[in-house]
Symmetry: C2
Subunit: 364 residues, 2 copies
């Protein structure tokens, strides 16, 4: 049965694996929040279904859903997707779900960070977030997986990537933001990450590309392709809104070594040429306390925010001139993977993409 | 993944095992309904915890809970009890949960009956019951168990007992009631039961002991102890409110043969000497559409409504003069079982007992 454990994964010999390591399950949450998703979440639900179907080709998918949407979600999703009740404030399980760690014997445990809707009362995106806060624990209970509760430490799964061999990349913009852990120094934050994900080396990129939303999650900017190799968004167009963040990240990564002392190989991944812009914002409820979304506003759209799963890559497409280029780049980086493109503007309208709405459970 | 299956268990070679066969899990639902349980369900929750703890000695227990009570239930229950969200209208998983069937290879499937709160708009106990109706499906989804949806046929798990070898006992009072399946003849009802539980023989007892509530569920009156042997409540006190139902049931069972042609051996089980009477009814909300419970009203209390689980018996005790007698009788019927007595008046106040609030999942 699922116990709470007081020690740390490092002390117990557990580490967070890379996303390219074998996966047992993929977790998602059903979108419905009418003050974030246009038209009552109906277009977003269709996008989530396509993403769940794509993942299902490589791994069993479980969709968590609020009680009121259970019947609709069960009806709309294909039978191979398991639907379970997991109350949530919104559908970003990458951020509110557990980070899973494993040991050499193949035991799996969860790490349950504090969650505060990307900034709490400082600059969080909605209030309250009490149901999101319980998601990690509920996932672990359903699976009978023991978990570590990291009380007093706010963290989101989308704000870091690990190589599974002791290295983590993150951004200062997010982890040092006023809305996360202002009571902790950079060194203390590093120590939490090292203890709970079992790491030796933290690589700090300066910025992400969405300062107003997640305060710059790294999962829009850079990730590991395999140990010793990273992918970084890249553009030479100085007028592109991601130019500065991408250039700075690329420079840091190009000069970095990982926990094993390897100099990182850095792969470039295109950014969309035109920005995805929100349409149909009049179909989004206004709610005091929720960040409003305006018609024509730039939505954050990054090809880097893809899903990596058991030989498959679920890859965002935006109907952009660079869709094909990015697809070719990712295929070149992962020659042995099947790359499945999915149109995901609807997810971008809500503030994230395929990586943000999924959480992999490693194979035990 | 959990599929819906259009055929029937009988056609597919599945049967419902007896409760004395090996069990994999026990399912319960957390009580909270303030118009049924006194004092916001707090005393009932404590009784449910004791019952869950008792079951936990013999089988892993999962407690389903409405979202709003998740944190409280998780906090109050011991760690060995798994807590998952399963929205429900009340906590009678015996009746709204799935009936599980198995085949010779050890595959397990669920049977998902229609549920209408014990009589629907005719004489149901509350309205609506839409969340209860989904419980069976949700349990099967969590477990990745395929299920049969028996559409158009109202049935509750507490209204029948099977021997696992082709025989079922039930009551006419319940199954032929106006609020269940008035569109079906007795023979058609038999056919549904035979098809979905894989039976050859239905033994009809006339009455149960709670005409106003479940319309006479058999699980307060009689059950199987093992193939060929039944237990029946028994009293010679003509003034006892259960006298008529008990005597009639005893007579039918004493003259009955089972599906294998065996004459049944009938064990007697005492009834409480004094009736359990509801106290603290002023702590129960009045809600239009919910059956009211009055101070001093007789609560249905039967020792027969016990839990049978992997060598253990979780046995109701009421603080009654006959508690000890009933305990001795049950030990004599089950000499190889450990009998755990649990005070369960609080469950009786709400309309049922240990068997009503638990649903066993057989070992695959």
């Amino acid at each position: 049965m699922a116990k709470r454990i007081d020690s740390t994964p490092k002390a117990d010999g557990y580490r967070m694996p890379g996303e390219y390591e074998p996966q047992e399950k993929m977790w998602m949450l059903w979108p419905e929040r009418p003050d974030n998703w246009r038209n009552g979440g109906k277009p977003a639900q269709k996008a989530f279904i396509k993403i769940a179907e794509a993942y299902s080709r490589f791994v069993p998918v479980t969709m968590g859903v609020n009680s009121g949407q259970y019947a609709n979600a069960r009806n709309m999703l294909p039978p191979e997707v398991r639907v379970v009740e997991i109350s949530n404030d919104d559908s970003w399980i990458r951020d509110c779900g557990p980070s899973f760690v494993i040991n050499d014997k193949g035991d799996v445990r969860g790490v349950d960070w504090d969650f505060n809707a990307w900034g709490g009362l400082v600059d969080g995106l909605y209030f309250p977030w009490d149901q999101d806060e319980l998601v990690a624990r509920k996932v672990c209970e359903i699976e009978n997986i023991d978990s570590y509760k990291v009380a007093g430490f706010v963290m989101e799964g989308g704000s870091f990537h690990v190589d599974g061999e002791g290295t983590l990349i993150t951004t200062e913009m997010c982890l040092l933001s006023e809305g996360r852990n202002p009571h902790l120094s950079k060194e203390e934050i590093e120590q939490y990450l090292k203890d709970y994900l079992n790491l030796e080396k933290i690589i700090w990129l300066p910025d992400g590309i969405d300062p107003e939303e997640t305060n710059g999650h790294v999962d829009d900017v850079a990730c590991f392709a395999r140990p010793g190799e990273v992918i970084c968004i890249y553009t030479e167009d100085e007028d592109h809104p991601y130019y500065d963040a991408a250039q700075k990240a690329y420079k840091v990564l190009s000069e970095a070594t990982d926990a094993k002392g390897r100099k990182l190989k850095v792969h470039k991944l295109a950014v969309p040429k035109e920005m995805v812009r929100i349409t149909g914002a009049d179909g989004i409820d206004y709610v005091e306390g929720t960040m409003p979304r305006e018609e024509g506003e730039m939505a954050i759209a990054s090809y880097l925010n893809f899903g990596l799963v058991n030989g498959g890559i679920i890859f965002p497409q935006f109907g952009d001139e660079h869709d094909e280029l990015a697809m070719e780049q990712i295929k070149a980086i992962f020659p042995d993977y099947e790359v499945v493109g999915v149109r995901s503007e609807e997810v971008a309208y809500g503030g994230g993409n395929i990586h943000c709405i999924s959480q992999q459970q490693p194979k035990g």
